[in-house]
Symmetry: C2
Subunit: 407 residues, 2 copies
């Protein structure tokens, strides 16, 4: 039989059970690569810059020519030319001479420093008068200073950020090999669930979870696919999960809030293959009836039927599983520090994810718990995030500073 697991235990099970999954890879244009995960280290085939470059608008000099220069005794250097942007200067700079160089321009040979125009007077008499000594290397980015040839510029298993795309551009990479996006199949179950195009009759409700989960997967960079609504029937659920498993890395079975449906979901996951069920019940509110199984190298979640519960469990566990399959560390979440607006009682010290709304009052940020009966969709839309109350705490006192994890 299965013990109900704690949140930390489930996180550990996910990490241990799914770290071995290897996503296929594809090569994409760097313009489409932001947010994608690298497969291998990116190694520079070049040096950047490939020339000694000025980092200011100023005068390229031989630094020792400026030693001792000051306002009262400026160094007088003959101005012998100007380097044009993007052009390679052909001259060799000689002692006692200076050349104008724009920011980003190449220094002539022998020059080892640039004096900013602010520190040089030019009276148009053929000379410049430098009133501050320049140390060797000042205002110069030397060849290879930024990137050495052969160095690792982006690691494997790294989520590409805009600045990484800039790095790839700098090195002339037009394409990059990345992991395929995680594919997530979404199945709704429940005899009470009807499509969103239907007018619910009797005691039916529209399929909320499919659309909230679909959107959450999109937000997390996965590829969601809806498999529609399946009635509470072992064979039909099994058939649909098998179909979804062929096309997905993770299958989410949502709905099934009643004991009967949860039992069917459990039986289906248990029947599909090895190792089978890993988690049957999590000691957390909301989300107790969550089921997690592994079928060969795929994951199957049985999510709670309540939209609010299903969504919170998605945020905590499915999103984490996506990171594990991607081979990346858990993504940092957006958080806000706030003061709890009221006492939050929790008599039994149970672990909870408490939905809260943020409000500003007297220049302070307050976290107001959104109370309501389980399963209300309006709880989630009115909440800005949640507070993770760990096990063993008998509640949180009003005014306590807490961390709110934003949805």
């Amino acid at each position: 039989m299965f013990d109900v697991k704690s949140v930390d235990e489930v996180i550990k099970i996910i990490k241990e059970s799914f770290s071995d999954i290897v996503l296929k890879t594809e090569v994409v244009d760097i313009k489409e690569a932001v947010g994608r995960v690298t497969v291998e280290d990116v190694i520079s085939g070049e040096e950047i810059p490939v020339f000694n470059r000025s980092s200011v608008d100023g005068y390229a000099v031989i630094s020792s020519d400026t030693f001792g220069a000051s306002d009262s005794t400026p160094a007088q250097l003959r101005l012998v030319g100007e380097v044009k942007m993007g052009e390679k200067p052909e001259m060799n700079l000689q002692r006692g001479k200076a050349v104008y160089v724009p920011t980003g321009g190449q220094l002539p040979k022998n020059a080892d420093a640039v004096v900013m125009i602010e520190y040089a007077e030019n009276y148009d008499d053929g000379f410049i008068y430098i009133n501050k000594a320049a140390a060797p290397g000042s205002s110069v980015v030397f060849k290879g200073d930024d990137i050495k040839e052969g160095s690792i510029v982006i690691r494997q298993n790294h989520v590409l950020r805009p600045q990484d795309i800039g790095m790839l551009a700098a090195l002339g990479f037009q394409n990059i090999k990345v992991k395929n996006k995680v594919r997530i199949g979404i199945i709704s179950t429940g005899d009470e669930v009807v499509g969103i195009d239907a007018v619910p009759k009797g005691a039916k409700v529209r399929d909320i979870n499919s659309y909230a989960l679909y959107s959450a997967v999109l937000n997390d960079g996965g590829i969601p696919k809806l498999y529609g609504i399946v009635e509470d029937n072992f064979d039909k659920i099994k058939e649909m999960v098998e179909k979804a498993l062929l096309e997905s890395d993770i299958v989410l079975i949502s709905g099934g809030s009643s004991v009967g449906t949860r039992d069917e979901t459990f039986k289906v996951i248990n029947s599909l293959g090895l190792p089978g069920i890993l988690v049957h019940g999590i000691a957390v509110k909301p989300g107790k009836p969550t089921i997690l199984g592994k079928i060969y190298d795929k994951a199957v979640f049985g999510l709670p039927g309540h939209p609010a519960s299903a969504f919170v469990i998605y945020k905590i566990f499915v999103s984490y599983l996506m990171d594990i399959i991607n081979g990346i560390g858990p993504k940092l979440k957006k958080t806000v520090r706030a003061k709890l607006s009221c006492n939050y009682p929790s008599n039994n010290g149970r672990e909870e994810f408490i939905p809260v709304k943020l409000e500003e009052a007297d220049g302070k940020t307050l976290a107001v718990p959104v109370f309501g009966k389980s399963g209300l969709i309006s709880i989630l839309t009115s909440a800005d995030g949640y507070v993770h109350k760990r096990r063993g705490y008998e509640g949180i006192p009003s005014g306590q500073e807490i961390e709110v994890i934003l949805f």
Copy 2:
């Protein structure tokens, strides 16, 4: 002439100058609506739930039948049936009787509470024995409890989250009117800049900014378009900016790190239309040479040429401008609290965005400033975020707790 502006002044100018811009709208499938911005309030045309619904697996009762029930004196009620999931019960519940209802099932008429199965014994003798009194309304979500007909469920100018998409599904919306994505044209200037497919010759460098900015716009939910590289020539820059303005809400002119190029960019923005230049220089490191203009109802930024500077200015000001044009409050940024790893000197009290790398040491998070000469692309790829040092502070001491804004 233009005074150099502070960061706060530029933020204020952006808010005041661009809040009047009205984006066109489009109607999209709710499956593609996450992250998009609503145009108008969404009003419920229905009540949710449309029936009195049980929030547990249990027995629907008339609550007064259970008053006084306890372990020693359970209330004995005749079990007269079972409500099937999704079905409307036809019976009227009578006093002294109970009906099994699954979670999410509809209560029969007259029932006003549900007793969880944990608090009822069923010996299969036709009765159930309830050992805990149920208050009226307990474990019931009444008709309209979640959402009232005519209530505003999602506000205008709201960025749609997955749970909002769930709300739309609940109410049967298959489509939603949203604002068009902000279109951002990106132009690179500079005689030294070549395409990423080129092998840079002489003192040329590849076009880093176009690709970093393109990816940043994608990340921020805008539509980027690259207009390529234009040489440092007033007429050519002007022609390209005019073309980009026709197809964009914001045009970014990147590059032009030298004084000469910055002058051309200034002249071009100043020549295009009214009100023209709003900001010419920002008192911040990096990003001093930033230019911002408004041409009729479009924005034009002249960004610094250094990739690191251009990217930081994008994060602070362009991203904010996108929020303003979208009519939404500034998006909350991902932040992490960390201790500064070393003294950060800043002799003149200048406002700075300091790139930092996060490291873990002894269970603490350290923010390590990434020093380096301006313009190095590797600064940005090795940094995890930045610290905003406000004006007037003469540096930050080692060990001080600071907020790191993640890239």
